[in-house]
Symmetry: C2
Subunit: 184 residues, 2 copies
């Protein structure tokens, strides 16, 4: 859909990074005026809702430099160029948690920050987890700790702002809905 | 929490924009090695789940230059410097939808893209909506169209990827849980 389309008058890439690019566009608005749009180009990412046979959610604690603190999230990672998201999802689950899975279903994809970024996150649901004997190592600049918790514990960690990001908040609600915990 | 802290060796702001800044940090990792972190600094934002007396969700359709398409979202906007989020939420609801509200409750805040950005979105729930007689205009470079839909219509629009962002996906699940629609 192109409703209220903002036509590009000029576009300049001001920074090309390892993960993100910064692009500033001059646009023509629907009323004929012009404005500037600051845009972050991102390769996209995956995140995995993974449940153990005991019904615990598999999470990882990780330092996030953007926030200057560590938070607890569902396993996630960015897409490599040309990589099929389900392949990334399987790899990130393996690298970050040491779990393989027998079943991996795509449940939803959404943009995280449509106001300034094109990052699209694909959310998968992994079932039939098993411990890998020779788990691949995570990226060399990535340090994570595995945490397995119940839905109730996850809700408490959200209240304490230890779980504090959109995809993980979505994942917890998804599991609450699956478990029929509506109407509370 | 500072687990796996990445200490800043150097930090450089490469772009200062109208809304976002780009900062690139050189960091010392927990194992003593170094890496580079590309970080977007954002003032934060609010989003409002607003229900009409008929139980419809108030949404807006808006062109998103980052995505090069228009999508349907719950009303939202970025924080002005020093502004209390609840004030922003009330203002954005009024400007984007023409509705005032008798009650506004904070329900959750979360980071949208912790891997590269510090954008924190505060989600509010607005009840007791009434049509404002003299609604303030939206920002001069903002064009939105008001849409009022049921939860079921919202779920269909998600399947069609017309609703396609994290905060709105969260909002729909929130309303499903409130309505006791779990266990489906």
């Amino acid at each position: 859909m192109k409703k209220f389309e903002e036509k590009t008058i000029s576009s300049e890439t001001l920074y090309k990074g390892k993960i993100i690019n910064l692009q500033v566009d001059e646009v023509e608005l629907p009323d004929g005026n012009t404005s500037k749009r600051e845009l972050i180009k991102h390769p996209g990412a995956v995140a995995v809702i993974a449940l153990t046979d005991e019904g615990k959610i598999v999470m990882v604690e990780q330092y996030r430099k953007a926030l200057e603190k560590s938070i607890i999230e569902i396993p996630a990672g960015k897409l490599e160029a040309g990589e099929e998201p389900s392949v990334t999802a399987k790899r990130e689950l393996e690298e970050e948690t040491g779990y393989g899975c027998k079943q991996l279903d795509h449940i939803i994809s959404f943009y995280t920050s449509p106001g300034f970024a094109d990052e699209l996150v694909h959310i998968y649901f992994a079932k039939g987890l098993y411990v890998l004997e020779n788990a691949k190592a995570a990226d060399e600049d990535e340090f994570v700790e595995l945490i397995e918790i119940t839905i109730e514990e996850a809700i408490q960690l959200m209240k304490k702002q230890r779980i504090y990001d959109a995809k993980t908040a979505y994942a917890i609600q998804y599991l609450q809905l699956q478990a029929g915990q509506g109407g509370k």
